[in-house]
Symmetry: C2
Subunit: 248 residues, 2 copies
Amino acid sequence: MELKKILEDKSKESWEIYLPNLSIDCVVFGFHDATLKVLVLKMKDSLVWSLPGGYVLKEESINDAASRILKVRTGADDIYLQQFRIFGNLNRSEDFFKDYPDTLWHKQRFVSIGFYALVDFSKVIPKVDELSTNCEWKSIEELPEFMMDHRFIFDKALATLRKQLVHKPIGYNLLQEKFTMPELQKLYEIILGKKLNRGNFYRKMLRYDILNKLDETRKGGAHKAPDLYSFSIEKYRKALKNGLNENW
Amino acid sequence: MELKKILEDKSKESWEIYLPNLSIDCVVFGFHDATLKVLVLKMKDSLVWSLPGGYVLKEESINDAASRILKVRTGADDIYLQQFRIFGNLNRSEDFFKDYPDTLWHKQRFVSIGFYALVDFSKVIPKVDELSTNCEWKSIEELPEFMMDHRFIFDKALATLRKQLVHKPIGYNLLQEKFTMPELQKLYEIILGKKLNRGNFYRKMLRYDILNKLDETRKGGAHKAPDLYSFSIEKYRKALKNGLNENW
DNA sequence: TTAATATTGCTTCATAATGAAGCAATAACT
DNA sequence: AGTTATTGCTTCATTATGAAGCAATATTAA
């Protein structure tokens, strides 16, 4: 069925069950193959991509709404979610729906709540829905063109991640349970947007005393097998309270 | 006129001009007398206090709405404003308006956008409106009892301030143009919630190279007159980009 | 007029953290 | 068995921090 018809059908129900004027957009981050990835989807009949999103039920908290929306999209429960900003300018969606009748739910003025999500890449199975033809991971280095202000929303999410790296368990939520020091460093480098000295990163991470060194190595790659680590989650959380790097 | 009547009168107009279900609450910080203060107000017929707030016009961006709301409340233009969080749980305001008819604008389920504002204390003149009997500064050490979840909103605002101290021009916006090193230190101590070593704070601030030392001292107090400083705003902003304290 | 006082400006010294570099160990490949 | 790139971890020079203190000084009290 074509998009226009579907939207008009859904529109009727939407007015009944959702809070008007309020939407949620999620930037879902995953880490795989030494690359930071984002979950994007393409709507039917659209040339550009969008971020996963949805609306808030009339009797639902904002956080529950975001969880529900991502559950459908990824199949995963217990996703680490953080709201990071409101996108409330006028005319955010005007152009996109200009050919639709004014009574269409989607054509309202929406104020969107931006969430970012951190997921274990291996545990997510991207799912299309009746509105979309594609749902897939894209490297943040090679993002496609986005609809509306979704590129701006992504940029703000990444900037937030950068600033929160010392305050939120970002490594913990993006990496698999067992990971190597080079993987952790690569993740930090991508989020911070710069190369870090290997030896110094190693020394610093150990000094934070937030990692457990496991009695295993990651075999299989070429060259020397790196040691595996896991987070000592209690120590990690405790360290984050004051900020990993902050020394006043 | 009693509150109930006023609310019912205003309610009719509100449905016409505002976006439904969406409100703004502002935590306005000022610094005076070596104390961090917050602007609070008391509604007519209410025993508890509230944060300044309001609604978003149908044809108005979120940031414009927050500016407009604070302009009315403080008389000040160009207030430094940051949205920091959404408060979107159910039943945020249910109890407060339980005796009112369901068609009352204020009785809707509201999702509130939390802003914090940083103002030069000396440039603000708190103003009551037709809904309120008091509008005044309170020290954050001696906050009164708040309505609804406003205490929670305040706590989150202060926690945000703490985390953003290295990334946002918080000192610049809270202090007067000319200030002394002990004033700056006191502000940092209050926001961080801990005492800092005087000599080390002094050395560190100078090393950041964000201050201009002026050829004046603050006379009048007892004891040695402290030197006056101003921010070198270009250098300050540049330093904040990487975070004042962050060394990866 | 002078002394007392608390505060401020700034330095010193010991300790800790960082930047840059490198060496030995090693898993996979030839 | 030798080659290679990567990893684990250390060293050394430099810089930052923590703790302490000394001299300067604006006001107040004597």
